[in-house]
């Protein structure tokens, strides 16, 4: 808050931040290091606690080779990417359109419809998994990609972010275009969308992370090996014979590192996107 230029205060602040960062990062770093060790080595150096407990003594890629060659882990990654590749653009466009409507139009039932969209993001799919499963099952979509894509094809959270963001765009900008004869869809495509890059990145990042990390719903609705996504595949690791801790660490490391890298490369936009979304005060 208030700038404090006392060097001692700065040192204390850095120390506190560093301790928190270490706690925050420790499991992730441990998982990554553990994925390069043999299962036996994990047990051998567990006690007493030394640097050997953390750092691999004999680095090996064997865990990764095993999960990709013998456990079909690559297929589950491809499935996940496929689902996201279809879902992400649909969800972004539908949510942005919704946000556009809520930000610029006045119409009967607006408050009610907005409330419905907000409730939808407060209640995660997991909480309604039972009735949703029955519904998807009646549609004959269990064990298809659609079971994963359709329920998430519009995101209440993304819609909320877009709505808040669009409210800051001056209405006169849109009205000018309307007078020039542009349709609402043209206004949306030519004026609103180009302005919404930071919030689209934020929303996209959230949709991507949600779907990449989605576990419970896919476990119910798409457990067949042909459509199985990465988190489901990881959960199945344990059920199969001869699966070592080290294999699970390797799969977990891959699962954790992908969204981490994507977030790291886009983090600048992320804070900006949330900050510009009107949750300012």
């Amino acid at each position: 808050m208030v700038k404090n230029n006392n060097p001692l205060t700065h040192v204390i602040q850095y120390i506190v931040l560093s301790i928190l960062a270490i706690i925050s990062m420790f499991p992730l770093i441990y998982i990554i290091l553990a994925s390069f060790r043999s299962n036996q080595e994990l047990f051998t150096y567990a006690l007493p606690f030394t640097i050997k407990t953390l750092i691999p003594q004999h680095w090996t890629l064997d865990n990764f080779i095993q999960i990709f060659v013998n456990m079909n882990f690559g297929r589950s990654i491809l499935n996940t990417i496929l689902v996201i590749a279809v879902l992400l653009p649909i969800s972004l466009i539908l949510s942005a359109l919704g946000g556009f409507v809520f930000a610029f139009f006045n119409f009967t039932g607006k408050a009610f419809l907005f409330a419905i969209c907000m409730i939808s993001f407060m209640i995660p799919t997991d909480a309604i998994a039972v009735p949703l499963y029955n519904e998807i099952s009646k549609m004959g979509l269990i064990n298809t990609y659609w079971a994963l894509i359709l329920p998430d094809a519009a995101s209440g959270l993304a819609m909320f972010l877009f709505t808040q963001f669009f409210k800051d765009i001056p209405k006169s900008l849109l009205e000018a275009a309307r007078i020039d004869g542009a349709s609402w869809l043209q206004v949306f495509r030519r004026i609103v969308l180009p302005l919404s890059v930071p919030v689209a990145i934020t929303a996209g990042l959230m949709i991507f992370t949600n779907e990449w990390n989605n576990f419970f719903w896919p476990l119910l609705a798409a457990r067949n090996e042909n459509v199985r996504t990465i988190q489901v595949a990881l959960a199945y690791f344990e059920d199969e014979n001869q699966v070592f801790f080290s294999y699970i660490f390797a799969g977990s490391a891959i699962s954790a590192i992908v969204p981490a890298i994507i977030f790291l490369s886009l983090q600048k936009y992320f804070v900006q996107g949330i900050a510009s979304s009107g949750l300012k005060g």
Binding site: M1, A21, K110, L279
Partner: protein, 290 residues
């Protein structure tokens, strides 16, 4: 804007553009919620409260409700307060602060399933790194997820580690929007750090706080992946939260009506708490304005 304002097209435009997203939400979110609610009152094709009556006599249900409340009464305030502290820290004007912000956020990007599976291995009594560290500090090895007194609270620790970065970001976004000149004038008025924090900063970011409190409540009340993947509701049902009881009813025991009634109860509790939070926090706001 002028010419077609009253035309049918202009009136239909917002509905048409909203329709696809709304259809998805109605079909795949709202309809399941309503259907589970309605079905919980129907037995053999007739309206009946029998499912709820059976539940009221069910000790497992009451135990899981109590466990859910016990966990959340600790976890929600803990996470909200910690997230505020973290947000204040990463809002400091220090060199390299964005690196810290990112490091604190990274647990959020990890799947709850991966976090659960790896934390269970790391908490293993014989080979887990947490126990290696505890043993080295002299505290000695602990049961953690397998101890009836520790399991629920260790899940709280894990969920807090995993979740706080997310809520921190929303509070940080709020803090970024506060005009810094306010702090300067507060300082000139001789207001100390905590006075400024409680009487200026936090009220200024009320919208962010409200969002975080509400979203955090619903997320935590519905948390159950750690119970499913680590403790199986145990030991001795000590981590058997309502959401996990629903899962077991529906997918292990095939008791759809019980699962439906439990889901309805849980969603009503969440909704009630959230509405109360809205009322309380918004009332404060009106008082300030008036």
């Amino acid at each position: 804007m002028k010419t077609d304002q009253t035309s049918t097209y202009a009136k239909a435009a917002p509905y048409l553009m909203l329709a696809p997203a709304l259809a998805i939400i109605l079909i795949f979110k709202i309809y399941p919620i309503l259907s589970v609610f309605v079905k919980s009152f129907i037995r053999d094709g007739q309206f009946s409260l029998k499912t709820y009556y059976i539940l009221s006599q069910d000790a497992t249900f009451w135990n899981s409700l109590l466990t859910t409340l016990k966990m959340n009464v600790v976890m929600i305030p803990l996470q909200v307060i910690l997230s505020i502290i973290l947000a204040l820290l990463v809002n400091l004007q220090l060199k390299g602060i964005s690196v810290y912000r990112t490091l604190l956020y990274l647990p959020v990007t990890m799947a709850i399933s991966v976090a659960s599976i790896t934390w269970r291995m790391m908490a293993n009594y014989n080979s887990g790194v947490f126990n290696s560290i505890l043993s080295a500090t002299g505290i000695g090895r602990q049961g953690l997820f397998t101890d009836v007194h520790q399991a629920l609270w260790f899940i709280v620790i894990m969920a807090t580690w995993k979740g706080c970065g997310y809520w921190m970001m929303f509070i940080l976004a709020g803090l970024k929007g506060v005009d810094t000149s306010i702090y300067e004038s507060a300082k000139l008025d001789g207001a100390g750090y905590f006075k400024t924090l409680f009487s200026i900063t936090l009220p200024m970011i009320k919208n962010s706080l409200l969002f975080v409190i509400v979203a955090n409540t619903s997320a935590n009340m519905l948390l159950f992946a750690p119970m499913q993947l680590i403790t199986d509701g145990g030991p001795q049902n000590s981590t058997n939260v309502l959401m996990y009881e629903i899962y077991k009813s529906a997918f292990r025991n095939g008791n759809q009506s019980r699962a439906g009634a439990l889901t309805s109860i849980l969603l009503i509790i969440v909704l009630t708490v959230v509405i109360l939070q809205f009322k309380l926090l918004n009332r404060d706001k009106e008082e300030e304005n008036g």
